[in-house]
């Protein structure tokens, strides 16, 4: 699943490790989510959105280009 986690995290000058610690998962899990290789549960999506101060739409909603 494509998402904006990586770009948002970088904009907030946060490392994968810091985000992982904040949401209570491993750094590997954050890396997999950013690469779109793992689809997180809704609970984890909400935790990530809160940690990055964004809405679920802004992070995970796919917008098709017209």
């Amino acid at each position: 699943m494509k998402n904006n986690v990586k770009i948002t995290r970088i904009k907030r000058s946060m490392t994968q490790e810091q985000l992982a610690r904040k949401v209570g998962v491993t750094r590997q899990t954050i890396g997999l989510i950013e690469k779109g290789e793992y689809n997180p549960t809704l609970l984890l999506c909400i935790s990530i959105a809160k940690a990055l101060d964004k809405t679920l739409d802004e992070l995970f909603w796919e917008v098709e280009d017209e």
Binding site: Q16, E17, G24, V25, T26, R27, Q28, T29, G31, L32, E34, K35, Y38, P40, T41, L44
Partner: protein, 152 residues
Amino acid sequence: MKTWISFLLPDDEYKEKKMLHFLAEGGFLLFLFLIGMTILNQFYNIGSTTTLLLSILFFIVYVGARYILSGIEYTDVATDKAYKRELKLLITKTTSFVIIFTLLYVVFVEFPSTWGGWFELLGMLFTVTLLWFMTSFISLKRSYKKNKDLMS
């Protein structure tokens, strides 16, 4: 999702899901293995102890191999420095195990009086240590590779 097996599972949700997959795969393959053994038992007389031990071994080896090869054990090893530090730690742990086990065996079990006794003790120790080291080393290497790819 709460299940009684939760106490065996890691806290991280990706690792938890992976472990559940491995255990489920192992359980299903064990089911097929037992059907195969039941059919085989009609033609060859395989003892029940042998069947049970083989079943346990089959499950442990399958789940263990899937876990080791998946690279999910060392989730934070993503740099060369962290990899070398973890490798050093692994060498220290296995060396300590060899020394402590040999000392405890010699002091509390028996002091081998023949060359054969020493050969038996060291042979067993060598096999266990090699197996432990190799499985941990492969797991570390796979984890490092996986994490390095995820960092870019």
